[in-house]
Symmetry: C2
Subunit: 802 residues, 2 copies
Amino acid sequence: MANITKKVSWSSRADESGAPGEGTPLLNGAEPRLSRQLSGGGNIFHIGRLSTVDLEEEMTSEEDSLRGRPKEIPHNEKLLSLKYESLDYDNIENQLFLEEERRMSHMGFRCLEISRWVVCGLIGFLTGLIACFIDIAVEELAGFKYQVVKQNIENFTEVGGLSISLILWAVLNSAIVMIGSIIVAFFEPIAAGSGIPQIKCYLNGVKVPRVVRLKTLVVKVFGVICSVVGGLAVGKEGPMIHSGAVVAAGVSQGRSTSLKRDFKIFEYFRRDTEKRDFVSAGAAAGVSAAFGAPVGGVLFSLEEGASFWNQMLTWRIFFASMISTFTLNFFLSIYHNNPGDLSNPGLINFGRFETDSVAYNLYEIPLFIAMGAIGGLLGALFNVLNYWLTIFRIRYVHRPCLQVMEAMLVAAVTAAVSFTMIYFSNDCQPLGPEHTEEYPLQLFCADGEYNSMATAFFNTPERSVRSLFHNQPGTYNPLTLGLFTLTYFFLACWTYGLAVSAGVFIPSLLIGAAWGRLCGILLASITSTGSASSCIWADPGKYALIGAAAQLGGIVRMTLSLTVIMVEATGNVTYGLPIMLVLMTAKIVGDYFVEGLYDIHIKLQSVPFLHWEAPATSHWLTAREVMSSPVTCLNRIEKVGAIVDILSNTSTNHNGFPVVVEVTLGDEAPKLCGLILRSQLIVLLKHKVFVELARTRLTQRKLQLKDFRDAYPRFPPIQSIHVSQDERECMMDLTEFMNATPYTVPQETSLPRVFKLFRALGLRHLVVVDDSNRVVGLVTRKDLARYHLGKHGLEELQLAQT
Amino acid sequence: MANITKKVSWSSRADESGAPGEGTPLLNGAEPRLSRQLSGGGNIFHIGRLSTVDLEEEMTSEEDSLRGRPKEIPHNEKLLSLKYESLDYDNIENQLFLEEERRMSHMGFRCLEISRWVVCGLIGFLTGLIACFIDIAVEELAGFKYQVVKQNIENFTEVGGLSISLILWAVLNSAIVMIGSIIVAFFEPIAAGSGIPQIKCYLNGVKVPRVVRLKTLVVKVFGVICSVVGGLAVGKEGPMIHSGAVVAAGVSQGRSTSLKRDFKIFEYFRRDTEKRDFVSAGAAAGVSAAFGAPVGGVLFSLEEGASFWNQMLTWRIFFASMISTFTLNFFLSIYHNNPGDLSNPGLINFGRFETDSVAYNLYEIPLFIAMGAIGGLLGALFNVLNYWLTIFRIRYVHRPCLQVMEAMLVAAVTAAVSFTMIYFSNDCQPLGPEHTEEYPLQLFCADGEYNSMATAFFNTPERSVRSLFHNQPGTYNPLTLGLFTLTYFFLACWTYGLAVSAGVFIPSLLIGAAWGRLCGILLASITSTGSASSCIWADPGKYALIGAAAQLGGIVRMTLSLTVIMVEATGNVTYGLPIMLVLMTAKIVGDYFVEGLYDIHIKLQSVPFLHWEAPATSHWLTAREVMSSPVTCLNRIEKVGAIVDILSNTSTNHNGFPVVVEVTLGDEAPKLCGLILRSQLIVLLKHKVFVELARTRLTQRKLQLKDFRDAYPRFPPIQSIHVSQDERECMMDLTEFMNATPYTVPQETSLPRVFKLFRALGLRHLVVVDDSNRVVGLVTRKDLARYHLGKHGLEELQLAQT
């Protein structure tokens, strides 16, 4: 994750607003706008409780509280990057668009609707296939690796010289991880990590460069195979969500810009609004394939992304999810020589929890809640450690070769630690007839026994989770579990953020399952000494499940969707209530200390992320304070030279421009009549849609919506467009192309109201007008994301060109 | 349902708009506005494909297609009632509100958040208790009734004279149903039916009078007990949703207007926005209690109601759902002498489906889809029959005593038909040791056997559903199932819409389970003749489940939420895919013929219901055509007499008024500066917040937000407020009370864009302004709900004062 900002070739266009940055300091050192406005502000501020002095004091104390952390942080939480552009989740309703819509018949819309379903089906199918490919590849390669190492260990157990096995294991792991890390670090750094924060940002409306490209997908898929096979403490589930999203973005556009193939289909879907809907479906399909949780997938998409719930859209997303699980199940059932059996869940299989054996009782609920609190604490610890580590990485480990070396080091250390743990463990268990271990290591155990620590370490994490959930009571001794929890916790924490494709779901589940099972065993031993009726506590698998939920909830802090994912992965709705209670407790406890892991990483990237609601205490701010002003406006019929100059101005880099009616009187400010985007102007300039002073068009054909769609989404920079001196003197008529009915708000509108409008409609620019409809300012995503509820009340983030 | 419009004392305030009904015909005979506008319209219409002629032709042909139906329908689908007001799901941000928000500290918002959680917990708890009460009451009373009748039948089986048993049964049923029907028909007609359409409307933003009152709840609860005990073909699940909603509306307000008790708590929540959120939680808690489906409940609320998804809100709704299931389970486990066992689902218990016994296979999927299509067809048939029946009821059965008599007749006929079916059935089954029938009827069967038809008819519907799902293969013979399906289908169809509180979920499930089991048996018999490997078809319970899903989906047409509800009620996620496929097929097939049952009833009530999106082909309409104009505006400082006159004008009955800056120049239209509601003006008049010409206030104290909250939601009518002749000469300063920043759109905004803004933000009034911010029109819910996608393209509904 950390290296994303380093490697990506940032687009030169940055600031959304059409205002020349009067209040937007371009460097770190600039004063926060909030305090300046407070001191110089109007009479409206006397109402707010937060006086100037208070605020400045609070800011200082906030900085004090940072003392415990490493100093001179280049990326800190108090910055908002100007690098990120927004996506346009509001349709650009210009004349061309309206004409097309009006031309379309009822049947045309039906066909569109059907093709949406087809696309969703395809997304689900392809996502399922990818999941299937990853699963089989990991299974085969990891199986081969474990066989080789097991063979080696068995050879050397008797004769001594196990250090050679250790070296073999470590070298194998490092080599595999090296491949995975090289393709990520050198070819596509955005493919690092789980991809969930990036998809969250995309669905939120932030344009994260290269996040939904084909190359990213390829690197992601091979990267995750290498990471898992390389024995890192990672899962292959998170990356599935990213993969599904890329598939969706690709399929829905009916072309691949990377492969330079245009299938001339689904052209209608070539805009941000439609694409976002499909990406939601893709992310849902990814979750669905990863956890066998179609409903959980839909909820994930909705919780993380969509702000507007639409019945048909949700139903389509659900369809994609279902098809994805179905495809995965179908092909995996063939692979497992059990064709046609569709009752298997997704990539991670929690195994079957039977209701009888593990029913819970009322008096267990406080225990579950306590475990939720432990999960919240451990999750917060994990997040804090990872936060520091990420900052360290941003400062010192930003060169690709260093990143690869770190990944290799982690792989080697993981192998070494695992080996040491197994070596010194004397937890031998009898190898029963129904044993489920794939690669039982005998090591120093008696014949017919196997090393219990090895089931946890010498296995893919998915299998380890399952054995922690389902192995018979007594399979693990408490010391094994305790040591495993401790080591795996730090390994997983170190691993997340490496330049490899990898998810954090499975490691979290594994840590939680380990300490959960430990809790179960301890409870059983406490109660069995007291009385004989310990049968209810007898099954530690139940506590492993609760622990897993608590740990995962404490780290990622998802709510409803995670509950449903866990319930669906468990395959038994009986656990709904305990899982919900545990996740709720973990979230409350964890949120007290630090944010969720994904939010931390989003913040460290200084992404202008819009939360669900404006900060509660922001009612005293109005559009007047929030907006950027003055605004660079264009006339409805504007000189080409002026447009080129405005677009070329690198110091402002605006992306949207209010269009105003030409001023006739001298003094009066011009009235708003539309809004036009940089991307539209670029297309107009490229096609030279100029009007000479004699008002005859220079272009032969009328510009159509198709021209804009063809250019979408990679509009050329202004520098690549040559405009001659003669052409500079021509005029451009924007009437047809501008959005003639942009949403506007008066200056007195409160921030929460502006926020609600902006968020609910997925806007990119919101024009602020005075009482005569004259443009006075422009509100963009960054203007709203800047206000943020800190520990001590409302805080304002600085805008920086990081 | 049908009688709602008759009984309710309609509020005299009706039209949302501030426009004097220029285009809103107040009687049925008025011409549709669309066609008039098309013929007289501007030049913009030549673009649309739908020319004037086309449209009128289509309207005629549409009327032709109605020929097959009864003529002279007083309520038809082409009308939109002016009687329904809207709710304000957008906060009224006036100065009072903003001052209060600004005064509130960060801690204050925390406390509010905590009290929201407390309220949700209370809602869940109380809803669970109510469900528990209904369940136990039905269990006890129905048990008593069946024991009496069973005793009687057994006495008369040997000696002859079973007709006396029939009469006893019929009279018992009629008497019980009479009680239930009387309280509904005479005391609270809105409590009739399942209440789901009403809650749908409420969440959509339509103010359905008396729908969330305490009296409604009481009548609903006792009504549903009577209906179920009275042996009607009804369920107690639908009414739970309504009950939960009423509980939520009551608890969240911290007072009961009916009981005249004000606990002075939760005063902050006394507005439509907050109340809606709690009602969503209540509806979810109701679903959760009814089906043991907390996630399904949340999805129901979201699918039917909330348009804006908010993570914390959803999480709170989920909390209420969980608490509700938990409470119900806890108390029912005590009732069933198994305290502390929380693994039981809700009111309807589908019983346990074990994964092993009923796994499905790939080649069964086409069968499932075919069953979905059957469900869609049967559902459409059910809906069409019920539609005709409802129209018949509206015309001829509108007096309460007639309604009670009809309900009694249905009860008697149900008993008679059931008895006849049982009497003539010769499907005897051995009474095994593990028989699950509560009241086995021996009748003419041999000793040790029981009548199989009686398990379906002589039982509460919930038990019948469970035995159809789980009884051993061979328990029912095909003839029994066929006859049962046939009779129960018509009985259920006749029953829905009676003046009793009753749901349609369980009857639908029962019909579907019966024909589904029949399908399963037929499949087994077909395959067993071919080969011996019929074990996969052996379990008809699986097909019963699929049939139940198909039938329910065909009738109610819910999507994601129904899938999840079914999965949660089944307790096994394995069936997710087949259930989804079946529901999808049923919806597609059913939608081809007719709408869902709830939508039909909403349409028959002429409710201005806003769907998810504007009709796809409505891009050629703009705000100019849609809006009502001219608008009655108020000056910022307005004469009291003028306000009283405007409010008293019964021919217009506006609810919202744009406030304009006083006109200084003679000709220019005034500029918009705010929006004020009728309810606010009423409160101002009541508290006599007048300014004399000398500009001294007459009131002692400043009016506070509390005064508005105290009056909420039952604002007095204007007639009850006495304003003296002197007072009429005073002025009223609206500045502090009006919403100073209403959302506005330009006249050229397309209908889909207006619709999106309106729907996403839950608006009640949207001001249309020209390019100088002067008011030119007002868009209200009815203006948008009027446009509707019919079979032949866009149609316009007439507004009528029905």
